[in-house]
Amino acid sequence: MSVAKVFGPVDIAVSGMRAHAKHMEVISSNVANARTTDAGQGQPYRRLEALFQAEGKKIGGVTVHDVVPDNSALPQMYDPGNPKADATGYVTMPNVHLPVEMMNLNIASRAYQANAAILRRYQRMVEASLELLR
């Protein structure tokens, strides 16, 4: 039994924590830019989505392999006083929906907690095995 093998669950749990922390970063970007009408090239902010990918084909961790924009339609808001409004008085707003983001935030934080719980439980498991040495 290689000692490095013992750390498998540690690496997997930590990769999950890292991936979900990244997901949380993406969500915070979405929430912060929920009303950003100009994200660079004069276009409103587009909601970003983190894509998860397994590390390897067998048992292994997870990574956020890409962060892609959500290409759903941008909502129009009637606001004639806005300097960004077009000729008909509509402003194109970002396609961020705060309730959706809050749900995703809950999922991400619960997933992070779950990975941390696995790490802690695994450490306790190894300690229990070492108790048998005494």
Binding site: V3, F7, G8, V14, R18, R134
Partner: protein, 104 residues
């Protein structure tokens, strides 16, 4: 870590239940010096892990990285390997004491 095969049918069928077991020493019986050498190698491994853990904490505190999960991983590995080393050390010392206290 714990490799447990719940599949009873995969057990070798040659051992009959209740039959007296003949003790066969494993092939290439390890000498104690080899065990001591293995422990010595493991100590260097544990030291490497401890140093990696220290380095990652330092990197986090000096702002070289902001990846807290790397610190968690390194600290968990260092902690677990050190606990295993302490367990093995205690066992060896206990065995030494028992040997020394043997009435001759």
């Amino acid at each position: 870590m714990i490799e447990f095969d719940p599949n009873i049918s995969s057990l070798p069928l040659t051992t009959k239940v209740g039959a007296p077991q003949v003790f066969k020493p494993p092939v290439g019986n390890p000498e104690f010096s080899q065990v001591a050498k293995a422990v010595g190698n493991y100590v260097t491994k544990v030291d490497d892990l401890q140093q990696a853990s220290d380095a990652s904490v330092q990197d986090l505190l000096t702002g070289k990285t902001n990846d807290i999960t790397a610190v968690i991983s390194a600290a968990a590995k260092a902690d677990m390997s050190f606990k295993l080393l302490v367990g093995v050390r205690n066992k060896i010392i206990e065995a030494y004491k028992q040997t020394m206290n043997m009435p001759l």
